[in-house]
Each structure stands twice: as C-alpha cells, then as structure tokens.
Symmetry: C2
Subunit: 352 residues, 2 copies
C-alpha cells in the first residue's frame, strides 16, 4: 500500500508537509506542493481514510437511521416494504447529495441495539446522522435528540440540542388536495390517513379541515377515516367505508399517500365504482408509480430533492461548524408542496 511516507520520500519532504499539502494548508511552498502533487500522481497515492478518521476523531461518514418502531429492523428493511417506496425515492437523493459532499453513507449494523446506539455511532466516528423516524417514540430517536451527534430528521418533527428536521408543508398539501376537489364541485369528501403516527397525519388532516372551513363547508368528523400508511390497510379501510356508506354519500377521497391510494383504487374498483366517474381520489407524495395506476393518480407532490438537499446541506453545515450552532442552524426547514392533476379526479357526479 502506498503511504504518505513514500510520497514524502519521493517528493523530498516530510510526512507533515505532505499532510499539509493534502489538506490544503497555506503553509506549504509552491515548489514543495508541486513536487508532492507529482509524487501523489506517480505513485497513485490516496490517503488512508481510516487513519485520518482515527487521528481526527471524526470520519467522513454519515450514518443513516431509520426508525420504524419495530426495534429490530434495520434501515432498509423498514423502507422497502411496498408502503415505503416514497422513502426509497428519498434515499436515492440522500445518497446522491451525500456523495456530492464527499461523505460516505453508512448503514450501521447496530440499528437494533438501541441501548448502545449512540455509543456505537461514536465508536464509528460518524460525522453526523440523517434520520427518518416513522415511529414517534423510538428510544433511539430520544437518544439522538440528546446526543452531541449532528442530526437532521427527514419528515419527522424532532428537534434537539444537535438536531433539527426538514419536512414538506403537509398541512398546505392536504389543503390543496381538498380545495382541488371542492373546486370540482365535491362537498362530501372523505379523508383517509393515519391520525397518529409522527404528527404528519394530523397535519394533513388539519389541511383538510382548513380547506373546508375556508369555503364554509361543514366538517363531518365521520368522514375522516384512518388507516396505517400502507396499501393493504388502506384497501381494508376502504372496503369498510364502502360497507358503511352508499356511493353518493361521498364523492371523493383525500388519501394519506400514493401507495395507500393504490389500495383505495383497488377497493373501489372491486365494488364496481368508477374513478373519477363515481369517486375522485387524490394521493400524496407523487411517487413515480402514480402515472401507471388505473387511472393515473392526481396527487400532492412532495419535493423530495428539495427536502433532501435541505437536509444534507444543513447537516454538513452542522458538522463543519463543530458543534457551534447558531439559532438559524437548528431551525426546521419546511418545503412547499403542490398539486399534480392527473386522471383520478373529476367533477362531482351529476346525480348527487
């Protein structure tokens, strides 16, 4: 293996100088710098990042945390179930951004060992953590909120002494979805989303309420259904809804996520209901699958790129500020959402 020692020898300087040149210190003469660079190229030298991490007491590695409630689950295991394709799309951006910033992304094997979670991260000398907490009260989330490790939560509203979050404007998104339906003439609008997990559901419910209130429509709590954030549960919940209510009693559904909407479409379809002829459906997220559902899904787009860019850039600022955070650095980042109109929404049925 080529070490800095060999580079130093070839360039006729000490290892200290090589190190300085490598790290862009101004205290290196032009000639020395030049010789060192040549030596690096001719030897194909690349610094040993492990040694660097040890001496700097910090690696260029960002850990990914994904807390799904199930304490034993690893990061991706929480994510690649059908219901979480949205997060997957998000992870793609995460990796991209982190790579662009020259950090490695680490999926530590200790996600489940909550007790020593923080310590394990420390022993790996991770520079920071990017966390997605789908479950509100995971012990690891708590630990992270109190730890010194710079952390940005994506899509879950957690703030701590070294942590903050980025999220979509969930309330406004649901407001747009609902207003869109109101403009199409709908008055009896069902909403289907999780009423609890992670405070996201309630925010979206609030947006729904807000839209109705704005136009003076009554809020019928009975139209607010709940289910888990996945295709299957949404499917089941819709079957239930269809047992309880006859068509025309409602003409549209605002759904908590696109993948849930797929379950909704399936249930409607099974009952011989047409979308949007009988019932209009709006999703949330704008997963790329939306274009291939039958019919293609009107939805609220979350600007994933903006979320992730915001998260990663903030995280890196936090890391590089060495724990000296000013106010602005711990302020949450809220990303606007917008309506994408496709074929699953239409005018309210005539007869109603």
């Amino acid at each position: 293996m080529v070490t800095s020692e060999q580079v130093a020898r070839l360039a006729g300087v000490s290892r200290a100088t090589v190190s300085r040149a490598l790290n862009g210190s101004p205290r290196v003469s032009a000639e020395a710098r030049k010789r060192i660079e040549e030596a690096i190229v001719s030897l194909g030298y690349e610094p040993d990042v492990v040694a660097q991490s040890l001496v700097r007491q910090r690696s260029r590695t960002i850990a990914l945390g994904l807390f799904y409630g199930d304490q034993k689950s690893t990061v991706l295991s929480s994510i690649s179930k059908t219901q979480h394709y949205f997060y997957l799309d998000l992870l793609r951006d995460v990796e991209q951004e982190i790579a662009a910033a020259q950090y490695d992304l680490l999926l530590p094997s200790i996600s489940y060992a909550q007790k020593n979670y923080i310590r394990s991260l420390q022993m790996r000398h991770v520079a920071g953590t990017l966390a997605i907490a789908m479950h509100p009260a995971d012990e690891r989330v708590r630990a992270l909120l109190e730890a010194e490790i710079p952390t940005v939560f994506i899509d879950s509203l957690n703030q701590g002494k070294s942590s903050t979050y980025v999220t979509s404007d969930n309330q406004d998104g649901a407001r747009q979805a609902t207003e869109h339906l109101i403009q199409l003439g709908h008055r009896r609008i069902v909403t289907l989303m999780s009423g609890t997990a992670g405070r996201i559901g309630p925010l979206r419910q609030a947006g729904y309420r807000q839209a109705l209130q704005r136009v003076g429509l009554p809020i019928d709590e009975d139209l607010m259904y709940t289910s888990g954030w996945n295709t299957e549960e949404a499917y089941q919940a819709t079957l239930l809804l269809l047992q309880e209510r006859r068509p025309r009693d409602f003409t549209a559904i605002v759904v908590g996520s696109d993948l849930m909407a797929i379950g909704v479409l399936r249930a409607l379809h099974q009952h011989g209901l047409h979308v949007p002829g009988d019932v209009s459906v709006v999703g949330f997220d704008d997963v790329d699958l939306c274009r291939y559902t039958e019919p293609p899904l009107t939805t609220i787009r979350q600007d994933r790129s903006a979320m992730v860019q915001g998260a990663v850039q903030r995280l890196i600022r936090m890391i590089e500020s060495d724990g000296e955070y000013d106010e602005s650095m711990l302020a949450p980042i809220i990303i606007p959402t917008r309506l994408i109109t496709r074929a699953s929404t239409g005018p309210v049925p005539e007869s109603s």
Copy 2:
C-alpha cells in the same frame, strides 16, 4: 470517551489483556476475564472500531456496489427508479443479512470515480464488496474482478480471482412461465425482455425456447420482442406490438420483469384488451406490487432471501478465509425459481 486504557486500569490489568479478553483469546485467566467484563459493563465501554480497523488493516464493513452503466450514478440512484424496485427489495435483505453478521454496510461516495474505485475501497479498508452489476461492462466491474477484494455479484454473471456470483435460475423460470401458458392452451406466445443486458435476458429467452421445444411447438423469432427493463419502455414496446399484430395473432406474453409487466398491462388496457380474457400475461420477480395490479399478476418468483443469504454468507466465508479460497468458494450459486399463479393468466380465448 471510554478507552481500553480505562478498562485496563479498573480491572487491574494491561491494555493487552483487555484486548485479548475482548477478542476471545484463550490466553486470559478466568479471574482477569471476569474483572475485565465487569469493568466494561460498569464503564459502558465499547471498542473504537476505527482504531481496530487501522491496526487490523481491515474493517467490519462491506461496501455495496451497484453499477448501472451510467458511470456517475451512486448506488441507490440506480436502484430506486421504478424499474428497479426488485433490487430494492433485495437490498433490504442484504442489509439484514449483513447486520446479522455484524458487519456495517457502506455506500461509498466514490462510486463514480471509476479510476480509483478499487483504491478507494482499499483506503476504506472494506472487508468485501457486494455488487449488483446491471450494466455488463462497467470499468469498475472489471477492476473488481481483478482486485483482491472479496466480492460476490448478485444477479450478474461475473467471476474473478476473488469474486463469484449468485443468481436465480433464470432459464428455468422462463421455462416454467412458458409451460404454464402452454398448459392453458396458448400456442402463440410473445416474449418481451431485454435481449442483451447482463446475459439475464438471453437466459430467460432460452427458457422460453426450451418450453416450446419440449412440446414440439415451433419457435417464431418474430414473437420475441425486446425492450429495456422498465415500465415505460415495456409500455412503448407493447404499443408497437399492438400496432403490428392483431389480437388473436398472439394470446399471451411472457414479460421480463414485473415492472415491465405493469407497462404491458397498461398498453393492453388502453387498447381495450382484457387480461386474461384476451391476453394472458406473466411477469418475473414477484415484486410485492404484483398483488395490486389489475388484475393481480401471475409471475415467476425469485427467492430473494435465498439469493441474498447465499451471497452474504459466501462473502463472509471469503472474507474470513483471508484470501485462501478453495474451489468451492468461488463456485457460482444458483437459486431455484417458481411460478406464482394469480389472475393475469387464463385459458386461451375460445375463438382462437
């Protein structure tokens, strides 16, 4: 930070002894071991893995490589496009298995820097690499095949001096799909898959041929269509197919992947064709989405867990054998596939 020094002091031994106890050396007295263990617990000590990596010249980290052809793409960016949900499901298992073996999973930020790819991995002291090569001739794949880093390729047929692969029995899968259709009475069966990329497509085409030959059916090369491995291209290819041929000229399609099949279903649907009334469709992979397509998709299940378990266990054996491979260690692992019958296949239409 708690170091081994402090543990040693508290236990009244030297750091060397602590290290031995930690690493399960037999050359530690029972009493010493006991005192050390107590000290570890009471101090909450955990070894510094970075320091360990440096001195051992090897970390407990496995790098993930995903080579998509596009040289600049990072690991997940290649994977989370719609067409690769299958790989995502696979990654879930990868992380799980690797975590179970107490290794961390690393997505290095250098995937695009092909030149120094190997060197970068070495400088990170990765123990091994798990690679998914969707593109046949990526430079990094070549480099990996010649490097000393233990590597297992998943789903791409590469063998090198320190590398081997695991894959499904692709040919047999396509054979099962085709035979299933033949048993339902189909005679004019279209196949739609990539004829080139990664040798997987051709293997599946071979399975298709094999099934026809077994029952003495003629092979009509004109029925063998090709497209990229994604929903959109499969959709387009099917539109083309429907321009060229009238229904009844073919009554079934064996598709290269489930996500492609979604595009196929959409195109058929758009032309007013019923599945399976007019055309039967079989996918490949058994992504969990299959249950929610309209109609639910008959497909060939790849046993992802078995693939990943095979890959990870082999990789770890390779790592722990320290470069001393016997024959069996570099032998490819082939995993059986099987037909999952759902609603997208049925008897050949009466009138044909």
